[in-house]
Amino acid sequence: MQKKYSSLISELREKLKDCNTTHDLVNIKSEYLGKNGYITNEFSKLRNAQESEKKKLGKELNILKSQAHDIILNTNIINNKTKERFVDVTLPGKNVCVGSRHPISITINEITKILESHGFTPVTGVEVENEYYNFEALNIPESHPARDMHDTFYVLEDKLLRTHTSSVQIHTMLNKSAPLKIMTPGKVYRCDSDPTHSPMFHQIEGLYIDKGINFCHLKGTLIAFIDEYFGKKMEIRFRPSYFPFTEPSAEIDIKFKGKWLEVLGCGMVHHNVLKNVNINPKQFSGFAFGLGIERLAMLKYGITDLRMFFENDISFLSQFERAE
């Protein structure tokens, strides 16, 4: 190779040593390989060379060109921005702010998801309710001792804060015809306040009306629900109870730390209730159930004081960051 060609390569190498921006690199590239670059010019000079030299020179120039090309291409630009530096990766990440759902909402969502998989459609309704829909329609007449179980807040003579979400079921049955399969989550109110009772709490109730629904369906559906909710086969006690709107009525207890805990009330819908909403009990039967959300949430998270749910202390709430 001609001497001037090999010194050109070392000159290029020198230049690239000082080059530390992309911009400079582009300039250097065009200085050698651009339209008016040195190597390009050498090629055009080739035209004037002697025929005998032409072939040899051409070959050498091509080698030079590809060498220069490779050298430029393989140059790593090291500038301030991309220089490797120490970073303390243990410093806090920026703008991390994880919020939380309320444990009650988380519990409601978990329950509704399971019930949806069983075909229950969510329905909501009013909280300030007419006495009729909260009591009479549900087979709880004025004089009924069962009203003792419902210490009721009144806002007007015949308007009250619903004591259960069953009133939503009555409205739904009146508005839609059987068969139907619904669930009604929401707030309910009772005149009661101590560590285990709150004047406001949350319930979810389910209702399934269809042809040929029997007691074993009630039991099967609810046991499946409980096992799914707790994520394992639970020890369950299914025992007779009493609700004016169901017959037979039952309660489900689960064994928790060696003790039976009541989690759910249920039963076959009382014929009087079906008649009140114009469903013929000779054609249709159904079951209903209801459960308190707070109680399940307390079990699941080990919360011991019901009042915590409504104090809204961030120190409490932020513990449920990852719970969903």
């Binding site: 806090p92 001792p145 399969k181 029997n214 007691f215 039991k219 025992r239 961030i314």
Partner: protein, 673 residues
């Protein structure tokens, strides 16, 4: 109700008092809440449901158990009670109050006799304290068979007994030491002179018996449950008697109980002679013994299992329903103690209870139901958006303290609770702002000062007198610094624009319009929220008034979204975009400080300049010295792009000139160079 296990052996001989017994009780619906061992006996506490008034006695419980143990019960021994023909002791009985009144009169009783040990012990186990011989016997029989009774000192009764409603302002000094003022809804037992007892609830002090009493009238009556219930509720009085009467006592039981009392009196005391007066409403008793005919297969259909006819028949026999089979049916006469049984569905529960709920095989219904989700139900996406942006969800009481909303709502809007649990929970919230500020304040008092919270809930208003409207609301509040875990140099106080940013991110297509009429927000810093033409809420800084009302000296930014008005459905469609280079141009102008930037952007947007694909605000700053008071410098950025070719500077310059003259014209703007 507390019972003694060993006592049950008198009704069902050889019954084993063990875990199996308590299991069977619960399994029958007589839920055992606790079991205590006591000197070789078990004291079993049962939570009785209100429908099973018949089980408020040893007899009733034994009768239920007999169906499970398949053994007929042994009835307590009863003296043969003869009714004395002349009604010497009973005068007028109000039929509405009392269906049957028995008066067992005993002369020359020695009430100083020691109550027999077996009776005293059993009463003690059942949680009834000793009083004196006669009263103990009456209490014993009440626990044994379920009939509450009352003993009057005959010598303190002037002539005849009447059962009637009290007159207004009649008074009685009752056994609990309280003087009750009565009214016309209160049933009483009275003689010619005075009120001697509140019927079925509590006796009077005057005619009560003591150790010196020798002659007694023992009342064994049936009182109408609703009448007793109303009266007991009025006085908030619950006695062993009222508890049973208001749930209902077997109307045919009073003679049996009187016979049992007489038997025990004869056995344990010197009593020989008696008189028994009785007034009974036969029509009422008849109503209690109704008949239900039911098909055998109704049981199978309702319960989902095959239940043998034999089992059904045997069960009803032991429960004393006098079953008679015919064709494919069974005829049942409902006994007077089971007045809770009204329709055939009730009979299904009887069979299910005795069969054992645990013995039913769980089954899932086969029909498939499609979930029919209401699209108006508020989107979880928006809530999750808030959570992922660091908001904590709270749930507050729907109640607020008395008169706590007067700064935000007119008094006629506010719904008051007629029977509040306390003054601080005596009205329903008419807006969410108080709930939010209270939650904020609570947290500040607990040293949490960086707050981002939200709540989904209802507000309640009177829209007309007696017409109530409930609205679903999502509201929230932010205060403090943006991210408390950031290094100090990266922290900032939250501002209105933080709140706005959150809302823009979580609610599709939201726009903000300046506003000033929301009372509880700072009138210089509030906006209404829109989606298209629909108002969906508002937001802004809390007003000066509320800050002072709550004693807050930090900035609070509040929002409220009407969740029923919001549209969650985002209709995403692909739009073609240009591949030719974009040209960016900045323009810096000086305008009056009161001019809303959005107005400038909107006017430019309306005109639609050629090739302009976007315009936005880049920067704002003030410099009094250079620009003067109330003047701000705004830098706007415009982006131009053509779909079909590369734009030239000239084309863009032409458009920029047009934009500039438009801004100059509308906003009296000057170009800053």
């Amino acid at each position: 109700m507390k019972i003694s296990g060993n006592w049950l052996k008198e009704f069902i001989p050889n019954i084993k008092i063990n875990d199996k017994l308590t299991y069977n009780l619960t399994s029958l619906g007589l839920e055992v809440s606790s079991v205590v061992k006591h000197k070789g006996d078990l004291i079993i506490d049962i939570d009785m449901t209100p429908n099973r008034a018949d089980c408020l006695s040893m007899l009733g419980i034994a009768r239920d158990l007999s169906a499970v143990y398949n053994k007929k019960i042994i009835f307590p021994k009863i003296a043969n009670l003869k009714i004395t023909p002349s009604k010497k002791f009973i005068n007028k009985i109000d039929k509405k109050i009392c269906g049957s009144y028995g008066a067992l009169v005993l002369h020359g009783v020695d009430n100083t006799i020691k109550t027999p040990n077996i009776i005293a012990e059993r009463l003690n186990k059942c949680g009834i304290s000793k009083v004196n011989f006669i009263v103990d016997i009456l209490n014993y029989v009440m626990i044994e068979v379920g009939q509450p009774m009352h003993a009057f000192d005959l010598d303190k009764i002037n002539r005849l007994i009447n059962v009637r409603y009290a007159k207004a302002n009649e008074k009685i000094n009752a056994l609990d030491g309280v003087k009750y003022t009565l009214n016309k809804n209160i049933p009483v037992i009275a003689d010619d002179n005075k009120i001697q007892a509140i019927a079925g609830i509590i006796g009077g002090d005057y005619s009560s018996i003591n150790l010196k009493t020798q002659n007694v009238i023992i009342e064994s009556a049936f009182f109408t449950p609703t009448v007793i219930r109303k009266a007991a509720k009025l006085f908030r009085l619950q006695t062993d008697a009222s508890y049973r009467f208001e749930r209902g006592v077997d109307p045919c039981l009073n003679n049996i109980a009187a016979g049992r009392v007489l038997y025990l009196m004869k056995k344990y005391s010197n009593v020989k002679n008696y008189q028994y007066n009785l007034t009974t409403n036969k029509e009422l008793i008849k109503k209690y013994n109704h008949v239900i005919n039911v098909k055998y297969n109704f049981f199978d259909e309702s319960l989902g299992v095959q239940i043998s006819r034999n089992f059904i028949k045997k069960t009803f026999k032991l429960l004393e329903f006098n079953p008679i089979s015919y064709n494919d049916k069974i005829r049942l006469t409902i006994p007077s103690h089971r007045f809770d049984i009204k329709i055939e569905q009730d009979l299904v529960e009887e069979i299910a209870r005795v069969y054992g709920y645990d013995n039913f095989e769980p089954a899932l219904p086969h029909n498939i139901f499609k979930i029919n989700k209401d699209h108006s139900i508020f989107s979880e996406n928006i809530i999750n958006g808030l959570v992922s942006r660091g908001f904590n969800e709270i749930i507050s009481f729907s109640f607020l303290p008395k008169n706590s909303q007067l700064s935000t709502n007119s008094i006629s809007d506010i719904i008051k609770i007629k029977n509040p649990i306390s003054e601080d929970k005596s009205e329903l919230r008419a807006s969410m702002v108080h709930s939010m500020i209270r939650a904020y304040k609570y947290n500040v008092s607990r040293q949490n000062t960086n707050i981002k919270i939200f709540e989904i809930g209802k507000i309640y208003n009177f829209v007309k007198p007696k017409k109530i409207k409930e609205n679903n609301i999502l509201s929230g509040i932010i205060s403090g610094i943006n991210a408390e875990n950031n290094l100090k140099s990266d922290q900032e106080n939250l501002s209105f624009l933080d709140l706005k940013g959150h809302l823009q991110r979580i609610i599709p297509n939201i726009t903000f319009k300046p506003y000033k009429n929301i009372k509880h927000l700072n009138k210089f810093c509030q906006a209404t929220l829109y989606q298209g033409k629909h108002t969906i809420g508002y937001c802004g800084e809390i007003s000066q008034n509320l800050y002072s009302e709550y004693g807050i000296n930090n900035n609070l930014y509040y929002f409220e979204i009407f969740t029923d008005s919001i549209n969650n459905v985002i209709d995403t469609k692909y739009k073609k975009f240009s591949i030719y280079p974009k040209i960016k141009r900045d323009l810096t102008i000086l305008v009056d400080d009161k001019i809303y930037v959005q107005d400038i952007i909107d006017i430019i947007g309306e005109k639609s300049f050629n090739y302009m694909i976007n315009s936005k605000i880049r920067d704002i700053f003030y410099n009094k010295k250079e620009f003067g008071d109330n003047i701000k410098s705004i830098t706007l950025e415009f982006i131009f792009q053509d779909c079909n070719s590369t734009l030239t500077d000239n084309t863009v310059n032409t458009e920029m000139d047009k934009i500039l003259s438009l801004i100059k014209k509308h906003f009296n703007a000057q170009v800053r160079t």
